[in-house]
């Protein structure tokens, strides 16, 4: 007999009048690792929020640990003891691991904090999962994997029966993911349940007992382990895989040009030491950061936030200041939120890409109209009459990438471009990046998870704290152990 830990029964949830979930049914059993693939992510955030907080429902009921905690008939607005771990840390920075796990726990009653006692209490948990993180380490010094482990331990110690892991693959690299799966299985064996939300079916197939396909606020299909490999489940990712297979063939025919457009020489940052890399004209280089802090160091150099301790950054062979260099464009993570300026028209948003090349663009109506005419083909006429706030995610992605197109840089750096994008948007982002490559720009993808980025790559470099750990040319991609269905094309 299986025991239900969490259940949503026919839940319909509206947020500001917009339907986020409709007739949503889902049950998670005790000791189970349940997977979820967001095919269309609309409503996913609302779902995760509803799991934790009992907000007023339009219809349906929510049960947690056998008790009805929310219903359309009455809402208590209480909080469910469900832990959510995602790409952003929920730990309190500048506090130690043991403080985060024990002291900040609900019900911690000691007035005097005995650090040694807490360290002794933490030790068996660490031993249990075979991970060694110093109890007195400050959490802002931890690697992404350690941070996730600490958050997981915090949830376990707090007695949360259900733990949600949302897109963890975007911050943890492949080998660490394997270790995380072992920890999840360990706790699942002890009766804890997990909901593992990921866009990559390959990840889910590796760790989950069942998978639910989430689409626009509904569950389209729930499949067991045996069914996961069936055509029904695979068909959702098949379109993406087909497209990648087709385009990979096309890109492999493209010639190589060995003129360096971007070079970072002997860069040292907070944790990174002596990092040197070159990016060649028209190539797509994937930089996998084996550590999140390394990514932060590289980003601070590229954004020009902080001067590196050592080394220099050159574009086209000349040292540059990133903030004022138009030959270098950066597309930050989650660009639909961070790179679209509210309160400006779509045309003005677009013309920002031109402002460095044409200083008087803001007053030049003729030029702006000409830009509008030219880019209406890509963006569509509607975008220019729609307020920025009302644009959909797809249009926002288009706007950001088209702006870069207008800037005509020599090299474009995309920071975790696929993070947070659902299946439909991933296809779209992929096409936009391919468009940049077709126009002769070099594209650098900074990422942690390789699954999507590798399909475009000409070269891969893996970077650790001590600089480049491994460099792999396209011809040798076949030797990489990446769980992606189209990897066989490289073999």
């Amino acid at each position: 007999m299986r025991q239900e830990v969490f259940r949503m029964e026919r839940v319909t949830y509206l947020d500001k009048g917009s339907k986020q979930l409709e007739d949503f049914n889902l049950q998670i059993y005790r000791g189970e690792i349940m997977g979820m693939v967001p095919i269309r992510a609309h409503g996913l955030q609302a779902f995760l929020q509803l799991m934790q907080t009992n907000m007023p429902l339009y219809d349906g009921h929510v049960y947690y640990c056998g008790e009805r905690v929310n219903s359309w008939k009455s809402t208590r607005r209480s909080v469910n003891r469900i832990g959510v771990i995602d790409a952003h840390s929920r730990l309190v920075e500048h506090m130690t691991v043991s403080d985060n796990i024990f002291v900040l726990r609900q019900g911690f009653r000691q007035n005097l904090i005995k650090n040694r006692l807490l360290q002794r209490q933490l030790a068996p948990f660490m031993e249990d999962i075979g991970v060694h993180i110093p109890a007195d380490a400050y959490v802002d010094r931890l690697s992404a994997f350690e941070r996730v482990t600490v958050e997981l331990l915090r949830a376990v110690v707090a007695g949360y029966r259900l733990i949600v892991l949302h897109e963890i693959g975007t911050v943890i690299n492949g080998s660490e993911l394997g270790k995380l799966y072992e920890i999840m299985h360990h706790y699942a064996g002890q009766g804890f349940s997990f909901l593992y939300v990921s866009l990559h079916l390959e990840e889910i197939m590796e760790v989950c007992d069942r998978v639910a396909l989430f689409s626009s606020g509904r569950i389209q299909k729930v499949a067991g382990r045996a069914e996961m490999k069936s055509e029904i489940v695979q068909s959702y990712t098949i379109e993406f895989d087909k497209m990648i297979r087709y385009h990979m063939g096309r890109r492999s025919a493209a010639g190589k040009n060995k003129k360096a457009v971007l070079s970072l020489s002997h860069i040292s940052g907070e944790v990174l030491t002596d990092f040197t890399m070159e990016v060649y004209e028209g190539e797509c280089l994937v930089v996998q950061n084996l550590d999140e802090q390394v990514l932060r160091d590289i980003l601070s150099v590229l954004y020009g936030d902080r001067k590196p301790r050592e080394g220099k950054l050159c574009v086209g062979g000349r040292p540059i200041r990133p903030a004022s260099c138009r030959d270098l464009a950066l597309i930050s993570a989650d660009p639909t939120r961070t790179m679209v300026f509210q309160g400006m028209s779509c045309l003005d948003n677009l013309c920002m890409g031109l402002s460095r090349r044409v200083p008087g663009i803001w007053k030049n109506t003729r030029m702006k109209n000409s830009v509008k005419r030219e880019y209406a083909e890509i963006l569509g006429e509607d975008v220019f009459v729609t307020p920025v706030e009302a644009l959909g995610d797809r249009q926002r992605y288009q706007l950001v990438y088209t702006r870069v197109l207008l800037q005509k840089p020599k090299v474009v750096v995309c920071v975790q471009p696929f993070r947070g994008a659902d299946l439909a948007h991933r296809v779209f982002i992929w096409k936009m990046m391919e468009m940049l490559l077709d126009r002769g720009m070099a594209v650098v993808i900074l990422t942690i998870n390789l699954a999507d980025s590798m399909s475009l790559a000409d070269r891969l470099i893996r970077v650790g704290k001590e600089g480049i750990v491994q460099e792999v040319e396209k011809e040798a991609f076949g030797s990489l152990s990446i769980a992606a269905p189209w990897m066989d094309l490289y073999r």
Partner: protein
């Protein structure tokens, strides 16, 4: 002015009076505080006025406004077709007569008559061309006898299965039967369909062997599984060229029985699926407004009966992927004899 804000409704008049009284108390409180600041009034008096205004607000808000809003919500949902129960209104009845009125409505909705009406419809659905059962049994027995004499064992078996199916559908009159009975009837029905489809149709039954006995003894409404199975064949696998696979999966939790009937047929598009699930969620529409059922009759009927017998937390939910198949999940409280 929007209809719901018009003063012709007593609730709006009461609300208006409450707001006027609150404004009076608030004005008194503010005046006294100002007078206190100017030294023309004592601190104690000013505090009392502020407290009265606050207390009045809290009492009206939590004692009248919120319960009234909840009561309004429940009535609105009832009119939308959701089945509310009298006990949902327990803390928010506006008057004793309203409470009695709700009790009466519930009595009518959950009366044996209503349940019987739904059951009859289920039988009718199962036997679209219903004829006199005794005449039917006799005829089928005769055909079987003739077939056996002629050495046509296939025809004899088929006739026997048909007779068995009709007997179960028509003669057993109780509301609840065991899962075992329902599964037997499904297998009989499937056997009949096999004569038509041959090897093109396959049925698989999945269960956890540890719970098998418990599951088979669980009581569920009669004719729950067969109409769904029939639906899966007619709307799913029949339209498919290759072999159609039907799967019945049983799962038991601490308090519920989950039955999933899946097919790998043609499935349905998202819009149709959303409409169907919406309809299954609001079957009260039909009971309250007498709305006609258009499409998905069998599923709606099974769902209505489960709602009437066990409450709206149980029932049917449909998952579907176009061109890949449909799953119908039946949720029933776990109860044995």
């Amino acid at each position: 002015m929007r209809e719901e804000y018009r003063l012709k409704y007593i609730s709006n008049r009461i609300f208006l009076i409450a707001v006027i009284i609150f404004l009076y108390f608030a004005e008194e409180a503010v005046r006294n505080v100002l007078l206190e600041l100017r030294g023309e009034e004592t601190m104690f008096r000013a505090c009392i006025h502020v407290l009265i205004a606050l207390l009045y607000f809290l009492v009206v808000w939590f004692g009248v406004v919120l319960p009234y809003r909840r009561s309004e919500l429940l009535v609105r949902r009832f009119l939308e077709g959701y089945l509310t129960e009298s006990r949902d209104f327990a803390e928010v009845f506006q008057s004793p007569s309203m409470k009695r009125q709700m009790d009466e409505i519930e009595k009518i909705l959950r009366s044996p008559k209503m349940i019987d009406l739904n059951k009859r419809q289920a039988q009718y659905l199962a036997l679209q061309n219903q004829i006199n059962p005794h005449f039917l049994y006799n005829t089928l027995e005769s055909i079987r006898g003739e077939a056996l004499i002629a050495g046509l064992s296939g025809v004899a078996d088929m006739t026997e299965a048909l007779a068995k199916f009709f007997r179960y559908t028509i003669t057993n009159v109780e509301n609840l039967v065991t899962v075992q009975d329902e599964l037997d009837n499904c297998e009989t029905y499937f056997l009949i369909q096999k004569y038509r489809f041959g090897e093109r149709l396959q049925l698989h039954v999945d269960y956890d062997s540890e719970d098998w006995e418990d599951i088979m003894g669980c009581r569920i409404p009669k004719l729950t599984l067969q109409p769904i199975l029939e639906n899966s064949i007619i709307h799913g696998t029949e339209l498919k060229v290759d072999t159609g696979n039907l799967r019945i999966q049983f799962e038991r939790t601490q308090d519920r029985l989950l039955i999933r009937i899946s097919d790998d047929g043609v499935g349905m598009d998202e819009e149709t699926l959303a409409k169907l699930n919406r309809k299954l969620g609001r079957d009260g529409n039909e009971l309250i407004h007498g709305e006609e059922r258009k499409g998905g009759i069998a599923l709606a009927n099974v769902n209505s009966r489960i709602h009437l017998l066990f409450g709206e937390e149980y029932g049917l939910h449909v998952y579907s992927v176009p061109q890949k198949g449909t799953d119908v999940e039946v949720t029933i409280p776990f109860q044995m004899d």
